[in-house]
């Protein structure tokens, strides 16, 4: 009961009580920092084809290559330092996950909240479309878009936005229609305050928490999906060494015992996704009023 207690602060205090979630949160932040700083800390620029030497290819972890430094995690089939490739790969994953997540969040929150606020026919129509898209798996939508627009980073992001905005819209709609019914919104309307103010100052802030949960899950699934599509060869073009591509390239060597090319990128990917999901899980548990004691 201090003045410092605010809903957000209380939230973080409770969040940090769960040690697993706290650790996951820290790991997530670390990965984000490392991915952003990849050009500064990576031993090698994996895009710079001139620096790659074929005689360094497929070397086991610990090998000292022609660059004169130790390849901690070994090298891939083109002689890339795997650690560098992973760092740059995480960067691509993060970029794609964050951009598609942010755009999908904005579009979805807008569609969902305004549908809930406007109501009536507009609401039914918008939500019907959203439901339709929800029943259609993201990976198929990505196929469709890849089939229509071809491959590439922006096509992929577009596909992810298309596939994911519906989750945000559905959640935002649910939360906002629940908030819309609450007395504090009627209180604001009875003042009367302007509709825009009611939506932006009252309904939207109160619908945010469930959206944040969806955001963590969706960013995680966007990252996973990007890797999957790249692995299948319909995601990023081969010139961009995303994690999925690295794993796909290592696939053929896996059977001959050169495990590291596929394993290490996979582990990096999984740590990132697991951390994000753990964070999302804790937030979800904390937000569930029925489990609150």
């Amino acid at each position: 009961m201090t003045n410092a207690s605010s809903p957000w602060r209380d939230f973080f205090v409770e969040f940090s009580r769960n040690r697993v979630a706290l650790a996951a949160g820290i790991v997530t932040l670390l990965i984000v920092v490392v991915a952003l700083a990849a050009p500064l800390i990576a031993p090698q620029d994996p895009y710079d084809l001139a620096r790659l030497a074929l005689r360094d290819a497929r070397r086991a972890p610990g090998f000292v290559g022609s660059g004169g430094y130790v390849h901690l995690l070994g090298t891939d089939s083109q002689g890339r330092d795997l650690l560098s490739a992973i760092l740059y790969g995480l960067r691509i994953s993060l970029q794609i996950g964050a951009i598609s997540g942010a755009v999908a969040f904005t579009v979805g929150a807008l569609v969902g909240t305004s549908a809930a606020y406007i109501g009536g026919r507009v609401e039914s129509l918008l939500m019907r479309i959203v439901d339709l898209q929800l029943s259609f798996p993201a990976i198929l939508l990505a196929f469709v878009i890849a089939a229509i627009l071809g491959q590439g980073r922006y096509q992929l992001i577009l596909a992810l936005i298309f596939a994911q905005y519906a989750y945000f819209a559905r959640t935002a709609h649910g939360a906002a229609s629940a908030e819309r019914q609450k007395d504090y919104v009627e209180a604001a309307l009875s003042v009367p305050l302007k509709a825009r103010r009611v939506v932006l100052r009252h309904i939207l802030p109160n619908s945010l928490p469930p959206l944040i949960v969806v955001a963590t899950v969706q960013v995680a699934s966007a990252i996973s999906l990007e890797a999957t599509l790249s692995f299948l060869g319909v995601g990023l073009p081969p010139t961009e060494p995303s994690l999925g591509m690295l794993i796909a390239n290592g696939f053929q060597y896996l059977l001959s015992g050169r495990y590291w090319i596929s394993i290490y990128p996979g582990i990096a990917l999984i740590i990132f996704i697991v951390s994000l999901n753990l964070v999302g899980d804790q937030i979800r548990d904390q937000l569930n009023p029925r489990l609150q004691k």
């Binding site: 798996p137 196929f143 999984i270």
Partner: protein, 323 residues
Amino acid sequence: MFSFIFQRLFQAGLVVIAMSVLVFCGVFAVGNPIDVLISPDATQEIRAQVIARYGLDLPLWQQYLQFASRLLHGDFGTSFIYGMPVGSLILSRLPATLELTIFAVLLASCIGIPLGVYAGYKPQSPAARIIMGASILGFSVPTFWFGLMLIMVFAVQCGCMPAGGRGDTVSLFGVEWSFLTANGMKHLLLPAINLALFKLSMMIRLARAGTREIMLSDTVKFARAAGLSERTILTRHVMKLISIPLVTVFGLEFGSTLAFAVVTETIFSWPGLGKLIIDSITSLDRPVMVAYLMLVALLFIIINLSVDLVYALLDPRLRKGRA
């Protein structure tokens, strides 16, 4: 009830039409339709013939009507790669995918729901914590990477499982099935586990969340106050209550499992639809893409429709009106 079914059928119809418009716009209108219909190395005369035959000089809406009527007649064109009618090509691949998908969904439900119910019933127990930890992992590991690991461990390292292919098949109702032979079953197992893992984790989480919420409800408290045993409460009250949301999920997940079969089929060289569509995307075999998308849309509609009906049968609030 009748009005409900009518409503769903009507919606399903709208969805089919919407889907066909989308596919038409996406594949025909955006790209050059000629490329869709004939192979790039066709001669100039054939091109002219095709333009005339398919009415590509007509207004767009007339083209759409023609496209729709061809679809209705099951005419999807001819695959560039396989050189056979796309319709029969897809039908020949469908059983393999269905077999894999159904097996995976059953695996996920039969293991996932009991585990999830248990984890929700005793959320503090060590077993529940292990189940939940494992499910987060299963939820996070990308399907393709898990598939690689399965192959590495079971096919490469210990050599006890085949790394790919369908194995021996037996013909039933004129279709080849793997699950009826021992060898085929052995080939089916790893891909099915691979495909099931994500759905399994999902089922665990949903069943747990549902059970936990129901266990805290007054309904359960009242049942306990009436002296019902925990077993009766679980089997009669809880199972009946969570079956409704789970059926919905089951249906939706069946659809998305069908889609994710693409990944598993690629890794395990399973000769199903998924492999076909990936090949057609990479080789720009557009007639196959169109047919695949329409087929998937149709399957989705059928699944959603049956989920709605089952839902209505299970939930007395929908089945019976107010007195």
